[in-house]
């Protein structure tokens, strides 16, 4: 055994290994080749077993050749391994392709009802100006619903509220959220900034724009110098928040519990003020009624009308929601047809 023979064996081994590596077709075969050539009992080890028969001075030279062969095989294995891995991965990915234009898997399909959502929207705006939410009973006593609001039992203005009465003497279904004004004033001291949302009832036949159950939000602010200008300023902000920038105006209204009383109009949300059927060609839409709290109402609330003054406003939640969402028929709200509700998802 001499150096030439041994290094020739090593080079042949290298050539054979490189050939087999290059033609191997899957990672398992490559794994087997690695063991066959580089394993502890592999071919390279077997060849090197002849090294002991060489003269000592030749041994390092053979070692260098063996190293070189081993490195070459290792490198080939790595290269081919990377190639094969890439091929396998590419095949898998190709087989996993989907039609990405297919719709996704539906997640949830719950919705929130536009009435409480509109109440939330209103409360959010006034909340920024320090208005806190209160609630009052829906089965209300006549005293609070009418008399304390300056509407005596035989006041002709009672005709404005067609009332549903219940079989508890002295009680009725509240016709508006305004009795909440009395309850708030009786339970707290000025400065008062209160918002009162809730369900109301009236003796009214149902059609596209009327119902016997509906929702209102009442507002009340009382302090020493609260004026109509404060009311106008807040309502302007409110209209801006809910309907975008648009002109607003006060015009006279009438409520027994406010003096002066006003109606608050915004530029028509449909035509922008040019005049259309939705605004009866006036260019304006009334969104709420308001006024300065009547001295008698302050008195019933236990507040000195000479020292304090304030304003109140009341709006129909459905009216606000109709304008915001273009709802064509009031009956949609309490009917709960999912084809309506699911549009608010």
């Amino acid at each position: 055994m001499d150096f030439e023979t041994l290094s020739g064996d090593l080079h042949r081994l290298r050539d054979r290994a490189l050939e087999e590596i290059a033609t191997s077709s899957d990672p398992a075969a490559l794994e087997a080749l690695q063991i066959q050539y580089l394993g502890k009992k592999g071919d390279l080890t077997a060849v090197l077993r002849g090294i002991g028969a060489l003269p000592p001075e030749d041994r390092p030279r053979v070692g260098a050749v063996a190293n070189e062969v081993g490195e070459a095989v290792k490198a080939a294995l790595a290269t081919r391994g990377a190639e094969l891995h890439g091929q396998v991965q590419a095949r898998r990915l190709a087989s996993e392709a989907v039609d990405v234009t297919l719709p996704g898997r539906t997640v949830g399909r719950g919705t929130l009802h536009p009435i409480p959502e509109t109440v939330e929207a209103i409360a959010e705006v006034f909340g920024q100006f320090g208005f806190v939410v209160y609630e009052g009973p829906e089965v209300e006593d006549d005293l609070t619903n009418f008399q304390m609001l300056n509407i005596a039992p035989d006041h002709p203005a009672r005709d404005l509220w067609d009332t549903l009465y219940v079989d508890i003497p002295g009680y009725l279904l509240r016709t508006h959220t305004s009795p909440g004004q009395i309850r708030v004033m009786q339970s707290t001291r000025p400065p008062i900034r209160a918002l009162l949302p809730g369900r109301c009832f009236r003796y009214e036949a149902v059609d596209a724009s009327h119902g016997f159950e509906f929702f209102q939000v009442e507002g009340l602010m009382v302090d020493e110098g609260t004026s109509m200008a404060d009311l106008k300023g807040l309502l302007d902000e409110f209209a801006h928040a809910l309907f975008g920038p648009r002109k607003t105006r006060f015009r006279p209204g009438y409520y027994p519990f406010t003096e002066p009383s006003v109606a608050f109009d915004v530029q028509c949300v449909v035509c922008g003020g040019a005049g259309c059927p939705a605004c009866s060609r006036t260019g304006w839409m009334t969104i709420l009624g308001a006024g300065m709290v009547h001295p008698v109402v302050l008195q019933y609330g236990g507040i000195d009308p000479e020292k304090y003054q304030g304003f109140a406003f009341g709006m129909g939640v459905e009216r606000i929601a109709n304008l915001r969402h273009a709802v064509p028929d009031l009956r949609y709200y309490l009917e709960n047809d999912l084809r309506f509700l699911e549009q608010f998802r």
């Binding site: 203005a157 549903l164 302090d223 109509m228 302007d236 015009r251 300065m292 008698v296 008195q299 999912l338």
Partner: protein
Amino acid sequence: MRVPLSWLRDYVDIQQTPEQLAERLTLLGMEVQGLEQWGADWRSVVVGELLTVEKHPRADRLHLTTVNIGSGEPLHIVCGANNIAPGQRVPVALPGAVLPGDRRIERTEKMGIASEGMLCSGDELHITSDAEGILILPPETTLGVQLSDLYGDVVLDVDVKPNRGDALCLIGLAREVAAATGATVRWPDIAVREGDDPVSAHLRVEVREPELCTRFVGRWISGVKIGPSPDRIQMRLQAAGMRPVSNVVDASNYVMLELGKPTHTFNGAAVRDGTIIVRRATPGESLETLDHVQRELTPDTLIIADPHGPIGIAGVMGGADSEIADDTTDIAIESAIFDPVSIRRTGHRYALRSEASLRFEKGQEFQLARIAADRVAQLTLAWSGGVCARGRIDTAPDEPAAARLAFRPARVRKLSGAEVSAPEQRDLLRRVGVETEENGASVQIQVAVAPQPLRVDAGEEEVLVAVVPTWRRDLAIEADVAEEVARVRGYETTPAHLPDTLMPAYRPSPLAVRNMLRSTLAGAGLSEVVTHALVAPESEPRLRWPSDDDLTGVETPESGSLITVTNPLSSQHSVMRRHLAASLIDVLALNERQGRGDVAIFEVGKGYGRVDGRSREWTRLGILLSGNAQPPSWNRADRQYDLDDAKGIVELLAKRLGLPAPVYRADDRGFPFHPGRALVATSIADHEAVVGRVAELHPDVLEQRDLRSQRVIVAELAIRGLDAGVPARVHVEPIPRFPEVERDLAVVVGEAVDAATVSATISRNAGELLRGLRLFDLYRGAPLAASEKSLAYRLVFGARARTLTEAEVDEAVARVQAGLKSELGANLRS
């Protein structure tokens, strides 16, 4: 109130277009709700002249006429009326005309003779109420002119607010027009040509209830001739929405619309003994009213009577026996002031509310009683002839002076927030007839009137005194003056700024917990509904939803009897609900009818009940699940909702509220529940609680309601904080620093042992090292016996400050196993 513009112009000059006027009135508080083109129906109706009038050869009751309409050949028209003669000018509806009531006029043939149009009666045109004869127009009327050009008008529909009864008439609205435009109001010339014999020779009046009838002015006219009013008057009344009746009745109605003062005219012959008595009815009395209804009179009804009995209900409606008839010759005119409250109650009592009673209810200017009596007499004489007796009966001839109302200009500014100087305030008030005077001495200010009158000293502040016109009965306190100033100045000029006063103290929103749960449920796939609080009376009895008696931890238990509406609109909505379940089932039914069976909904709503004569309200969460939980899809199998979905939601809510996992207790009552699929869920901590029922509905309920759904799950939960509450605060447990140990345990028990009992037994025996317990499998079948089931639990053990030893865990598991064996007779598989 309907206001024909041509009539309004009698009292005030109007330069503006109708649209401009409408806008000005609206901004002044007299809201114009509509502008009607009166007479729009009269297009293609023209003025013609009758040339010839001959008998129809084949019909006695018809006439053949030829009519000149100013141009073209004369028209041949067949007519059935008898009041026509050659030379008269008449309205001619041409073929193509459409008359009121959608009546189309065509070329026709009547008994063999062609008719090229129709001659019209006043009734057919809705101009007068005469349906007998053709409307004969004044001879000077121009031929060929369209009737709409001749008599057309614009009618304003004005919404007069309840506090402004003074404006429910043409004079009142003329005052408002004058305030808006600066024009001057023209009163009609009111003067009565009187005869020689005194009124006292014909009429005596005795008011026995001076509180309820504060003034009665009477007049007497002899020798009237009843007939139709002048056409012009009939047209005005028609346009104002009032049907012409006869000259005498029309005079009364005309004055009511003109001055706002209702009056009544009696057939003088029916006022027996010539004596009118104003008194309360006595028990047993009755009266046939003008509408020919016999009415039993209650003793609190104020009536007009003669010495022999009632002849009218005061201020509301006259009696049939004293009605003006064709042969009436003498009339008694009543122009009275009645107590508004009494009139209002009477109107309600007899369900009789007339134009007259509506005006009485709002209160009347005292002077008007005298003025209106004269005006009715004047118009009656003009339209019906006769002689008016000299003088009036007047039970209260002293008329009050104008009231004086002191106000502080500074206070007006403070309320309105606008810088309006005192001189400007005086100018503005003058425009609505309120004169003002300066006041040197300090004076009392009326801040509030009844029921708690409040007068304050003005001190050093500047004070003005408003002289309130007698018709403005609505101006009583200082704030009323402020309103008047702001109104005339124009509310549209109100300045706007944000409040700069103190903010109120913090107050948690009562909606906070409600909103948190609402968004949680919507996120979990449920749709929120809002249903009626008023339900049908049979709704609850039919469903038999159980009361709260067996629930513990409910803050406001459902209680009391049903609250019933005493004047319901419909029987379908006449009681206040106590539970939400029936309403949710209604929503399911509605959506099923629309072909939609997959329904997952919730409502946060109130229940109402009566306890000890008082009402109570409580807020609940209702849930209904039916149909597909996951609709069939190409990328997911569908799955039907079942009881576990509802329980999962309850568990989710408990988590959101920071509560322990709910404990379930079976409820096997049966109807309305599936006897094997109903439970009570309870999860209570110190401040929070979720308590309620979760159940699959009994198939009989579905059948009863005609529902197609196979399974419907309903839950109603009482949740603390729904009424008002603060969302729970989370208290963080430190993350375990030492490893936890898991052990799985399969427990074989008889079917009669429920899962809640098994898990409770495990927890109780495991001791404090047990940190988690989860059921991960439920198995029935071989090799288990038929009456057995296997529950597989994963137990997690751990300690906060150290690593557990195997021995410790083994010991705990052994305790659990022993407990399960001895307490439940369980076998353990591993």
